[in-house]
Amino acid sequence: MSQPKSNRLSTGGIIDRNHPLSFTFDGRKMQGFKGDTLASALIANGIRIVGRSFKYHRPRGILGSGSEEPNALVELRSGARREPNTRATVAELYEGLEARSQNRWPSLAFDVMEINSLFSPLFGAGFYYKTFMWPKSFWESVYEPAIRRAAGLGRAPEGLDPDHYEKAFAHCDILIIGGGPAGLSAALAAGRSGARVILCDEGPVLGGRLLSERRFINDFPAAEWVRSVEAELSSMANVTLMRRSTVFGVYDHGVYGVIESVNDHLAEPPPYQPRQRSWRVIAKRAVLAAGSIERPMLFGNNDRPGVMLGSAVRTYVNRFAASPGHRTVVFTSSDDGLSTARDLEAAGLSVEAVIDSRPGHNSQTMNGAPIFSGSQIIRTFGLRGVQAVEVIDSYGNIRLIDCDSVAMSNGWNPAVHLTCHLGGRPLWSDKKNAFVPGTLPVGLSVAGAAQGNFTLSEALDDGFRLGTHAAVEIGFKMSEPSLPGTDQEGTSHEPLWRCIKGKGKRFVDFQHDVTDTDIELANQEGFRSVEHMKRYTTLGMATDQGKTSNIAGLAILAEVSGRSMDEVGTTIFRPPFTPVALGSLAGHHRGREFRPTRYTPSHKWASEQGAVFMETGLWMRAQYFPTKETPDWFSAMCQEVTTTRERVGVCDVSTLGKIDIRGKDSAAFLDRIYTGTFSTVPIGRVRYGLMMREDGFVFDDGTTARLGEHHYLMTTTTAGAGKVMAHLEFCHQVLWPELDVAFVSVTEQWAQFSIAGPYSRDLLRKLVDPNFDISNDAFPYMAAATVSICGGITARLFRISFSGEMAFEIGVPNRYGDAMIRAIMAAGEAFGIAPYGLEALSAMRIEKGHVAGLELNGQTTPRDLGLEKMVASKKDCIGKEMSRRPAMLEPDRPIFVGFRPLAPATKLTGGAHFLDIGSEPSLAADLGHMTSVTFSPTLNSWIGLGFIKSGRERIGQRVRAVDFVRNSDTLVEICDPIFFDREGERLRA
């Protein structure tokens, strides 16, 4: 391959020629300058083919110069920083940039899949819906794998992203979207009014189209105006300029999503800075000044590298001093073509011809270039890039013009995208030959080219007017208008939706290879709704979301279906405006920071002991405490249970929800919440309570202590704490506001430890100050008291037991939590204390047949749980009425009971279902399922809890516990759910 020649112009542009940068494309080393984009640098290096199209793998070059680019997609960076599908037109050049072409094999120049092009008659719109159905088995084995292999463009990065991301919030009075002339003058007006203003622009440099055009403001090059406005805005404390910041979405009530590319213009972000930051900007008003996107022309092989939007050609020449071609043919339906020709010639580049589809300007020349009016390009020729165009004039004469690039201009589409995110539909304007914004999001107005006001003077005027208007509407003062004068510009335009048919495909959607005939076929097959056409042809569904293609597609559909543009309408623009890296929308919240972590008071101590932790909701709790002798969960659990049952154990139970309830109606309130009666609980006593949802299913359970006449302390399950609090507040604020009661969560105020086992009282005696009598008589089962410990520290003591042993829960202010666990361990040493974790806790509660998580799963009723006696008959409570619905009283509802394997050593598994011996599996034969299992060190047997039809009546019978997914089938005997100490002698001891 020949060495590409340099296409860098010797003067001009806003690149920094003192700052050369080297980069590679497909491994080839090249040079550009600071201020270049990858696209401009590739052009400057004479590169024409940058990628391959999705379906036909046709070689593609660069079409545009901004975020609308459909063709020039590359993989940027490598390894874990690889970014597939990056638009070369917006990637800023940095030293060492690595880019790779994609969707080609073995190379960009020679891609075997280009063969698809040959079969293109087969691959019309929607062809895949019509085939690959026979033989049936081939879909899975042959067709689909092949389709999938061909799918996609770039490759996902390899490995974990080394960069980090952030989220942030910003508030302002007025958000300006776009930093072109309209946006800048809107910002000026808004800023001068004193309002808090944020201006966002996608690009690194403010100025919008002015950076790309040879325009004059107040008789000076427009760049000077931009610089002066920028200076004024920068000096205002109330104005924030956010460059490299794309407003990607509009959401309800003035919320705008913005992605700031903090460091994408560098090889790697500097330390302590994110790669990108996603902003939620909350604005009272917004002015959309996002400009417009130029439309391509549809002629045969209009996708050949070298065919470009005219505006892009001007951008490359004027802004980047890079020439896409040395012999350009300009093809236009508007006055823009003339600007292109003028600018090319001003840069010393030759224009071979100006083909103007509009009639009437016959036989003119422009600086020597012939102007062919009333003419059209029919098709292009060339190997790997345009080498000539075939032109037809109004008399039907055809001529061939040699060239190396084509600059096409077919009018502009206002960038209305953001006006549609809340459901607004653009309207067709015959005057502007474009869809202009329709219903706008509340608070947003549209200025400049985005509104279809394409001239510079209109942009400046609109911006200032709307910026002022927005400020005044929210109470700021009017700014003095200071409208600069501009040079003249022509805006005449007669859109040409497709050229006279010649040979070669006419691409509408370049990336997805959708041609005008695909749209015709869709129409022919009944896909006439614009949304059907989109989905059938995939027009506008590629990474560019049809920014350059949608309107042409609609125009063709309008033409072939005999409807107006208005009748056809547009498809819906959705966020994001341009694709957004997923990482930036997650920000800080990834990996272990996905959700906050909540630590228990004894966490530090437990980690020192080598405890293994597990997540319960957001809490980290000790699962078990491995020791040298008992290193695994099983042996550790057994040891912890045995120690607790025989001696004494301690467990951090601080995670249980604790709600302090006060007020003169507390008792009445609790009676309505709980199934049981709490107004009768004596002060200094605890009662177990069950709550239902209003639909009659059990909601949560726990013990509630009465600490005073009007003072209760409710405990909830760990998982239920939040839900219960919201429920209480609902009942109080919404259902019964007449009751005087107040709730405060004190979950974290108290570090609470369960001390259980025969020596628990002895241990406590060493901690509780001696003036408190904690003997069984003075402090019996279900007693509660405020005591002092360790010489005067206030503590709360409860005689409650989950383990079934004589047990106490002691609560101390959390600051003493760490010291407390150490003190308990020290005091318990003499009794052989062991700490126990969740495994042991769960084993002991199963031995005692207490219900917990998987039994209180929201699908069970008090009756299912064998707790129907806890529903007081004399009073109403939440859920009582609905718990009496017929289905909930059906005799064959699965009922809570216990299970033991016939052979004690046979492992039981949670989630196994029950079947009668001899019955075949079927839904009808399904008797219920096992919820919780454990090995019981106490009984030296596996045991389980679960629900089975007619459970109570079947105690003593045998059934199969079948766990298909773990391949076990165990004979179990149905038994009482309380496996151990049925009479509760131990806990009352």
Binding site: Y272, H588, G663, E748, R815
Partner: protein, 201 residues
């Protein structure tokens, strides 16, 4: 008698270690410290009891009850509105716990006053870039024209339910979370402060 005297620990023990972190060049943008040894109580007024409650509070703390999400501070005590008929009372002085205790007893008929001194971790964040760091999670408008000294907010930031109040114009803020979330609060604040360079005190 007992030989064990329990040693209290602060909520963020070991999490905010003195030193400079994050960006090393240039001025420090942020200072972070743990608020220690405070007393905190949640006050909920009972029905139609605001007036008598106000009297008692004035008597014990010398403070008015703020209206709305405001903070009133004097002599080492502050009242922070955080919900209708709900306040946090914070005392930074040695003896504030016992004063709160007395207050609780004196106002039993008018309000539920519940000790929260151990339920929260509180971080103080100050410095010229404090506002920017907070904005990386706090969704309310922190601009001084909207949220200034003695404004308070109960809000959601970085997945945490926080109480936030501004204590001076430097600006300095205090942020409280449930104690068990202290580590996550510290982690979020520290990572938000990194780009500005911060000092832990």
């Amino acid at each position: 008698m007992h030989d064990s005297i329990l040693t209290p620990q602060t909520a963020l023990m070991g999490l905010i270690n003195a030193g400079r972190y994050g960006r090393q060049e240039g001025d420090v943008g942020i200072r972070i410290s743990e608020v220690k040894n405070f007393s905190l109580a949640n006050i909920t007024a009972f029905k139609n009891c605001r007036e008598p409650l106000e009297k008692v509070i004035d008597e014990y703390l010398g403070l008015d009850l703020p209206i709305g999400p405001q903070r009133i501070e004097k002599n080492g005590y502050a009242l922070i509105g955080h919900g209708p008929d709900q306040w946090l009372a914070i005392g930074y002085e040695e003896n504030s716990a016992s004063i709160f205790d007395k207050l609780e007893k004196a106002s039993r008929d008018y309000a539920a006053i519940v000790d929260q001194s151990d339920a929260r971790a509180i971080i103080r964040l100050s410095g010229p870039d404090a506002r920017k760091a907070l904005a990386k999670g706090v969704s309310i408008d922190l601009d001084p024209s909207v949220f200034h000294t003695n404004c308070t907010a109960t809000t959601f930031a970085a997945g945490l339910w926080i109480n936030l109040w501004q204590i001076n114009d430097s600006p300095a803020y205090e942020i409280s979370v449930f104690r068990g979330f202290g580590a996550s609060l510290a982690s979020w604040i520290k990572s938000s402060a990194e780009e500005f360079g911060y000092i832990n005190q």
